[in-house]
């Protein structure tokens, strides 16, 4: 201690103290800050398999080391969640060029998807795949989910998640069939035209609320057949076809009876 005390008036002491303070602050932040980086422990073998799969199926467009090129995004730092979303919904590998990559039966099985995700997340940290507990609709607050959904999502996805049109042939898909995990991933990674709703915008609990609301919509309407949940246009169409169709049919029948 004597040595310290003797040197505390050294002209370099403030600099050393500043550096120490920065180190401590940085260290504490790194230890306490919520980590979005992939926390999953991916084995080296997974990463190797993923790399091979990537080079065989994805490198044509995304480049040999996933750096992307004109019109094709770089995959460095997109995270495991993005890979899992795109590959498990069949959007990637892309079938053909079009306004947007459309969902289709997935081309990779679960293991391959996991390997790809491990490889991509090894290139740079990004949103990780949510746990089952994070996306459990039973734990969410439906009413809060509705409020969040109609403020953030309904303008593209329709009030009950029946989907809607975007410009130039792009569209926000219907969410009737989307798995809770994919809904969560879409929010945290913002695929295609969708904006990213990171954990600061919509917290993981709120994401769960939205999932709870969307899953609740699948129960159907208290009023009967929801007619696609598309609103007044489909109601009008069904009114004309079923309602007026039946009534005119009946009128023809009544009119034909006596004459």
């Amino acid at each position: 201690m004597k040595a310290l005390a003797a040197r505390r008036h050294h002209r370099l002491a403030p600099v050393v103290l500043l550096l120490l303070a920065l180190l401590v602050t940085g260290g504490v932040y790194a230890a306490l800050a919520p980590s979005t980086a992939s926390a999953e422990t991916a084995s080296t073998a997974d990463i190797e398999t993923g790399k091979k799969l990537f080079q065989a199926n994805c490198a044509t467009c995304h480049g040999p080391s996933a750096e992307g090129r004109d019109g094709v995004p770089s995959l460095i730092g997109v995270g495991a969640a993005a890979v899992d979303f795109q590959v498990s919904t069949g959007r990637m590998p892309m079938q053909m060029n079009g306004p947007q990559a459309e969902a289709k039966p997935p081309q990779m099985d679960e293991e391959q998807t996991a390997a790809l995700a491990a490889y991509i997340s090894s290139l740079g940290a990004g949103p990780s795949i949510p746990t089952d507990a994070q996306v459990d609709p039973a734990e969410g607050d439906i009413a809060n989910g509705m409020a969040l959904f109609r403020t953030n999502c309904a303008m593209c996805h329709n009030a009950v998640g029946a989907g809607g049109a975007l410009s130039e042939g792009k569209f926000a898909p219907a969410l009737w069939e989307t798995t809770p995990r994919n809904i969560y991933q879409a929010m945290s990674t913002g695929p295609q035209s969708m904006p990213v709703f990171n954990d600061a915008n919509i917290t993981p609990e709120e994401k769960q609320d939205i999932i709870a609301f969307l899953v609740d919509q699948r129960e159907g309407s208290a009023g009967g057949n929801a007619l696609g949940g598309l609103g007044p246009v489909s109601e009008g169409l069904w009114g004309w076809v079923v309602g007026l169709g039946l009534l005119i049919g009946a009128a023809v029948w009544i009119g034909a009876k006596s004459s």
């Binding site: 609103g231 007044p232 246009v233």
Partner: protein
Amino acid sequence: MSTTASTKHTEAPAQPTTGAGKAADYLDQRTSIGVAVKEFARKVFPDHWSFMLGEIALFSFVVLLISGIFLTMFFQPSMALVEYHGEHPANMHGQLMSVAFASTLEMSFEVRGGLLMRQIHHWSALIFMAAIVVHMMRVFFTGAFRKPRELNWLVGCTLMILGLAAGFSGYSLPDDVLSGNGLRITDGVIKSIPVIGSFMSYMVFGGEFPGEHIVPRLFTIHILVVPGLLLALIALHLFLMVLHKHTQYPGGGRTNQNVVGYPLFPVYITKMTGNFFIVFGVLALMGATMAINNVWNYGPFDPSPVSAGAQPDWYMLFLEGALRLMPGQGTEWVILGYTLSLNVLIPAVVIPGILFTFLFVYPFVEAKVSGDQREHHVLDRPRNVPTRTALGVTFLTAFIILALAGSNDLIATHFDLSINTITWVFRILLFVGPVFAFWVTKRVCLGLQRKDRELVLHGHETGRIVRFANGEYIEVHRPLDEQERWLRVNYDAPVPLRLEPKTDARGVKRKGYAADRRWHRVSRFFFEDRVEPVTPAELAAAHSHGEHDALGAAEHPALEAGVGAGTAQEH
């Protein structure tokens, strides 16, 4: 009546014996209702299914009244804020909303049969408007609006507009996001009216949109003003219908002086009652099985959110479409500090203005350009008035294109198309489509008329080929029977108005020549292309010189015997 009844009583006491008879006699002695019953019971109505379209509208209005009375028992037209604590629906727990919205949820989820009644009411409204439109189409295309029924046509047009007002005001009552979006558009439309728009908007909403007054105001309009007017005008509509007698389709024995059909009692009373129950049944079935306007999907009104697929009910869809098609940029000007917002004014005010003006003035324009002052009780076949039919189809085409344009986002998602492309296609179609539809319809009508002429003059083709002794082949034609011929020759083909010369006999310029010339042009547009009905002389001529054409088939022993064709004429 009471005196006759009493004299009868003293002279020949033909007392009613049954319970119903006694009740009727009791009523008749006090009200003379027998006169009205006698008159009405034997009133003859013509028979055709298309005459029941108006009935569908009437009966759905009755269903609207019945279900609407039920709904008023539970609806609270207030925009005060409350927190919702009902058990259902799950997505509304603890949400802040207006009392109007909360009472809509309560009537849907707490009141027994409330949701069913709400849905029946809404479906009835859609069917009411649809039946009105179809009924108007029937009246328009068959020329049932001609003298003496022009005024009733005007009453009908007003009923249609009142129906729109009823639908619109009711749609906005639950104070949900979707109808709130509609109200916001209405606010924009009101504000687009030059100079007075902003003031009118403040007047309507009692301040800046949305304010706290619009729901109670719409409620008064929806349950008092509009239904009152509707009831009064429906009564007038039906009274005029009875007064004028119902029109009938053309056919043998049907003239402007008679009505061929069945009496009201018992035939039409039965049919109407049956039809009422069918209409009520279908509407109840729809209300029970098909969800409509589930407001909790959209949530309580908040000016910020708009969801994809936000559209009005179908009868307002053409306005939505017009707004969607109208280019926004470069159509808004500021003149002397006043904003002229053509991007709203044209689609939301001018376009419906054109449609409604056409509907209101058409009967008078047609009467003017045909110079026809006679009464008409026999309907036209649409083909026999090609220009009218074509004009009707033109406006329908425009209406349908606009309604489709109002659904452009759903067309885009359901048919995998680009919404930008769809919008441009509809923009072009809105101008090209109606013109094309006019041309095609008119040609089809003229073609059908020529076919009728051909048929009357030459008869049906039988497919029987006969060879004569001299080697000549003919196909035997079977002449039309009287009914078939009557239908095809009994119509008017008015000629364009004659234009009086510019100057009178003394070379002085005639007053009103310019107006005459304009009407003459319109008249030519209507009647220049026409196919005259076959005259008796033409028919006789065709029979006498068109040797092979009018050959009788089996009834001609001469033909069977292979005798020369010239003898086989006697029709």
